[in-house]
Symmetry: C2
């Protein structure tokens, strides 16, 4: 039984969703959902977000194939943030790395993994 | 060398900060920072946030002692979300559990750890 009325959307109808790789615990990205994208995420089992810049729904990996298979959706004590544990197919970041969080504020350099080259997927964006 | 000019604050001067326990990878909470709270976080080595409801800075654990010792601050590819890895002293959630994310949207029940009773800290709020 799913009741998304426990979720509090902000004045713009949005809620931030933290995406975490279930297997490793790595935080992959943060994006925003509106009520419709949350419903589609629940219905389809893959993540859908709402683009604030384009003001439209988008499915993560729709063109790249790098979809996020939802394992579990958590919400916090205030009901105003989602934490979605996923199985990430391919990579989460449009820069070609598994996580979008690779730069540190103190050194401003890319840490950890090396970006993979996937020009056929992201090279034209 | 730290340059927080790479960080993009939104129209309200805020940026969401995901707080993750470094040791376990557990996502503990999400809160918002403005430029001043980020500066204080960097300067003091513990997390400071900006309360949207109270419109004021607050230090996590200032009264409870449940501070978050900053291990590393990451920012994402868009520069509009922070991921802060911390050592959590005590618990992160005002409900007395380590993480604020314990309820799942499909069952709406508390999962995992049992809330600890810490009336001296949170019982009067």
């Amino acid at each position: 039984m799913i009741n998304i009325d426990v979720i509090k959307f902000d004045d713009n109808g949005l809620i931030p969703a933290i995406i975490q790789q279930e297997q490793t615990g790595m935080v992959l990205m943060l994006a925003y959902m509106n009520r419709e994208s949350l419903r589609k995420t629940i219905e389809t089992g893959v993540t859908w977000f709402f683009s604030r810049s384009r003001q439209s729904l988008w499915q993560k990996g729709e063109t790249s194939g790098h979809v996020q298979k939802v394992q579990q959706i958590y919400y916090d004590c205030d009901g105003d943030t989602l934490l979605i544990k996923v199985e990430q197919v391919g990579v989460a970041c449009h820069e070609g790395t598994l996580s979008c969080f690779r730069r540190t504020i103190d050194q401003q350099k890319v840490e950890g993994e090396t970006a993979v080259t996937i020009p056929s997927v992201y090279g034209q964006s």
